[in-house]
Each structure stands twice: as structure tokens, then as C-alpha cells.
């Protein structure tokens, strides 16, 4: 790892100031993605800005009909949060399947969201639940935020500060993990929300997380596993690699969608 300067600001304003002054500075929260990248010298920041000292970015709150989750809330804290378990149990269960115990003790929701790994769990949840991502300067709907594989609408130096998640009537999630890496090869999150049925797919899309509109229409007409069983995703939109062809992933998406509806109940 190349060396860098280290800063630990106590407020979002101070963090943003450091990041604005230096476009080659990188924010770090849990570091579960950034540190492995730095070790591989894939990234050479001049300075690393540790957000963990910013108290306002931690924790889960229920505000009326939504959950507000601070960007620095760790996966393990989402998984064990009484508020999350009561409001969106499948989100808590999902958080409990990210990485392993030690990763969940460090990795944060804001970090995962800002990284937008195509196999990450949270982006599918936030897209399906119609969440809003709050940054230090604006609010973005999940579909405007997640713009492609490892790509978001975040500008250089802009920080995710919180995630606002409307509480759905029902929600469910299922993923097929790669047996070795345990990353999602195809995961489907289904939700009945105030703005209708929404379905989001991770792990499979050639351009990262995406909404599956044909499944949304099928589930709007008939909320049952059978309704999605006949909906096939176009393999041309999916990713193929040594772990599975696009056709195999297309098949998995349908199977995971059925399981997600069963999970939602």
C-alpha cells in the first residue's frame, strides 16, 4: 500500500472541506472495499478521510413511515437493529448475510451504497424499496443514484450521509451465492410499496443493479411466486463470466424472484 495523509474530521462540513480541497483524497468508513483496493495499489489517494468520528452519521431511526439509516451504520448493526427488524425484517436478514461477521462489524451501509458493487445487497434493496439517498448537498432517488456498475451519481468529494427507506407493506429477498466467493450471482428484492410493486435485481445485470419491470407488472396483477415463474429476463442484458453464463443468470433471476416473493409472504 502506498502511504497517504490521514484525516479524521469530527463533522460532515469538515470532511467535505478536506475532500473539496483535494480531488485525490478518498473518504473511508469501514474500509472493507477501499483497503483491499489500496493494498493492490489499484488506487493511490493522497489522503484518506476517516468518517468514523462523525457522530451524526451513525445509527438507525424510525421517522413516521420510513427508516432513516445513518451512512456509517454497520451491516451488523442493521442486522441486529430492533427498528429494522420490526419495520423491514427482510432488510435486517439481508444485512446479516453480507460478507462475514468481521466484515459486518466494520462495513457500513453508506460505504456499500457509494461503492455500488454490482453484487452488493443494499443497492437492490434500496432500488426496490424506493429509497432516497441523502448526501451532504442533495437527496437522490435510488434509481437516479445507482447509475451503473461501480458507478453512482455522487460527484467527487460528495458524501452519502443517510439513507431514507419508506417502510413497505411487504418485502422479500433471495440470492444465489457463488459457492466460493459468496457474492450474489443473482439476487432479487421484491417489495409492495406505496408507489406500487417494485422488483430489483443485483449480481446479474451487465450494467449493475436494475429494476425488472415485467416482473413488477406480473406481481402487480397477482402477488404470487407463480406470477413471476413465467417471466424470463433477456440474457442480453445480463453479465456472463466464468461463474455463470448470462443465460444461467437469467434462469437464476426468475428462480430468485419466486423465492423472494415466498420470503415476503
Amino acid at each position: 500500500m502506498y502511504d497517504f495523509a490521514y484525516h479524521k474530521p469530527a463533522s460532515v462540513a469538515d470532511a467535505v472541506k478536506i475532500l473539496a480541497a483535494d480531488p485525490d483524497a478518498r473518504p473511508i468508513s469501514g474500509g472493507m472495499t477501499l483497503l483491499p483496493a489500496l493494498k493492490l495499489r489499484l488506487n493511490k489517494p493522497t489522503s484518506v478521510v476517516d468518517l468514523s468520528g462523525i457522530a451524526e452519521l451513525h445509527g438507525v431511526k424510525r421517522e413516521g413511515d420510513k427508516l432513516v439509516i445513518g451512512a456509517l451504520t454497520r451491516h451488523g448493526d442493521v442486522a441486529s437493529s430492533a427498528e429494522v427488524k420490526a419495520a423491514i425484517p427482510t432488510l435486517a436478514a439481508m444485512a446479516g448475510t453480507i460478507g462475514d461477521t468481521q466484515v459486518r462489524n466494520r462495513g457500513t451501509m453508506g460505504g456499500s451504497v457509494a461503492n455500488n458493487d454490482p453484487s452488493a445487497d443494499y443497492p437492490a434493496a434500496l432500488l426496490a424499496l424506493g429509497a432516497t439517498i441523502q448526501t451532504d448537498k442533495r437527496k437522490l432517488a435510488a434509481e437516479d443514484f445507482f447509475t451503473g456498475m461501480f458507478t453512482t451519481a455522487l460527484e467527487v468529494g460528495e458524501l452519502v450521509t443517510a439513507i431514507h427507506i419508506p417502510i413497505p407493506t411487504k418485502a422479500g429477498y433471495a440470492k444465489m451465492r457463488n459457492p466460493a466467493s459468496r457474492y450474489s450471482m443473482a439476487g432479487v428484492f421484491v417489495a409492495q410499496t406505496a408507489s406500487g410493486v417494485r422488483v430489483a435485481v443485483n449480481g446479474a445485470g451487465a450494467n449493475g443493479v436494475f429494476r425488472e419491470k415485467a416482473m413488477e407488472a406480473a406481481l402487480s396483477a397477482n402477488w404470487s411466486p407463480d406470477a413471476v415463474a413465467g417471466v424470463k429476463v433477456d440474457p442480453g442484458l445480463l453479465n456472463g463470466d466464468i461463474h455463470g453464463s448470462a443465460e444461467y443468470r437469467a434462469h437464476l433471476v426468475t428462480v430468485m424472484a419466486k423465492r423472494a416473493v415466498i420470503d415476503a409472504g
Binding site: A5, Y6, I28, L35, K39, D100, T101, Q102, V103
Partner: protein, 168 residues
């Protein structure tokens, strides 16, 4: 160079580190606590697991500067001053839960966190799932799981002392 203060196994240390220094490097090379191992160095194998503020973490994927002010417990901090082993260490010995021993410090540290976070006890399946972040290249999982199952009963006070391994 940045200065960090860590309380490791109850003793406060102030050390100078580079910003890029990993916690495991500080533990092994500066504090000479070499019980914490580096296996894969890519946060997969869990040989480097220590406790930070009571949570198990992979010390190969944390900067020492991120740990400033933290309480760290390593494998060296488990046994009592008179050498009495922690119940988890005792169970690993009793159940022969190691072959080459390289993964053992991380396994023990992860296992203790796992037991602490499951006060109602864990099934064999839950123990196996809970060890997802620790790899044993000797594939000695069977006895590791048996040891953790036995140790949890001692740690939660359900039995007065470790149930001995049956002669097999």
C-alpha cells in the same frame, strides 16, 4: 508520523505508525504480539482476527490510525496471569480443534465473539455459519465446531466445567 494509542490486552501503548500501517503490523512488528497471524492478507481467511471494542475484526484490513483510542484484545490476552486458559482455549485443546494451528488464534477470537453475541446458545449449523470468515486449510472444522459447542456452555454458565471429549 501519526501517533496512536491502543489499549492492547489491558496495557496502554502509544506508538508511531505510518498512516498505511495495518493493525496487524502494529501488533506483530511493533508490539511483538505474534500470536495474531497473517494468512491471506486479503480479509478472507480470518487468521488475523482480534477484538476491537468487543467486536471481532480482521486486523489485516484495518489501519492502525483507525484504531486510535480503541481497546484491542489478542489471543495473548485471553489466558489468566497464572496461565489458566480461557474456556475457549481449553475447549480447543480438549477437543483437538487444531491440526497445524495456523488458523487457531483467529478461530478462537472469532469463536469467543460468536459465543458472546449468542447468549441463548448456537446450534451446530449456527456455529458453522458464524465461522464463515475463518478458513482452516487443514479442513479441521469438525473438531473446531465441537470445541465451540462445548465452550459456549461453559461461557454461558450452563455447565460448571468443560464437558470432556469422549475417547474415540
Amino acid at each position: 508520523m501519526p501517533q496512536v494509542t491502543l489499549t492492547v490486552n489491558g496495557t496502554k501503548h502509544t506508538v508511531e505508525v505510518e498512516a498505511r500501517t495495518l493493525l496487524v503490523e502494529t501488533l506483530r512488528e511493533q508490539l511483538r504480539l505474534t500470536g495474531t497471524h497473517v494468512g491471506c492478507d486479503t480479509s478472507q481467511c480470518g487468521a488475523c482476527v482480534v477484538h476491537m471494542g468487543g467486536d471481532s475484526v480482521k486486523s489485516c484490513t484495518i489501519l492502525s490510525v483507525q484504531c486510535d483510542g480503541s481497546e484491542i484484545t489478542t489471543i495473548e490476552g485471553l489466558a489468566a496471569a497464572d496461565g489458566t486458559l480461557h474456556p475457549m482455549q481449553e475447549a480447543f485443546r480438549e477437543y483437538h480443534a487444531l491440526q497445524c494451528g495456523f488458523c487457531t488464534p483467529g478461530m478462537v477470537m472469532s469463536a469467543i465473539d460468536l459465543v458472546n453475541k449468542h447468549p441463548d446458545g448456537m446450534s451446530e449449523k449456527e456455529i458453522r455459519e458464524g465461522l464463515e470468515g475463518n478458513l482452516c486449510r487443514c479442513t479441521g472444522y469438525h473438531n473446531i465446531v465441537k470445541a465451540i459447542a462445548a465452550a459456549q456452555d461453559v461461557m454461558h454458565g450452563r455447565v460448571p466445567e468443560l464437558v470432556r471429549a469422549a475417547a474415540e
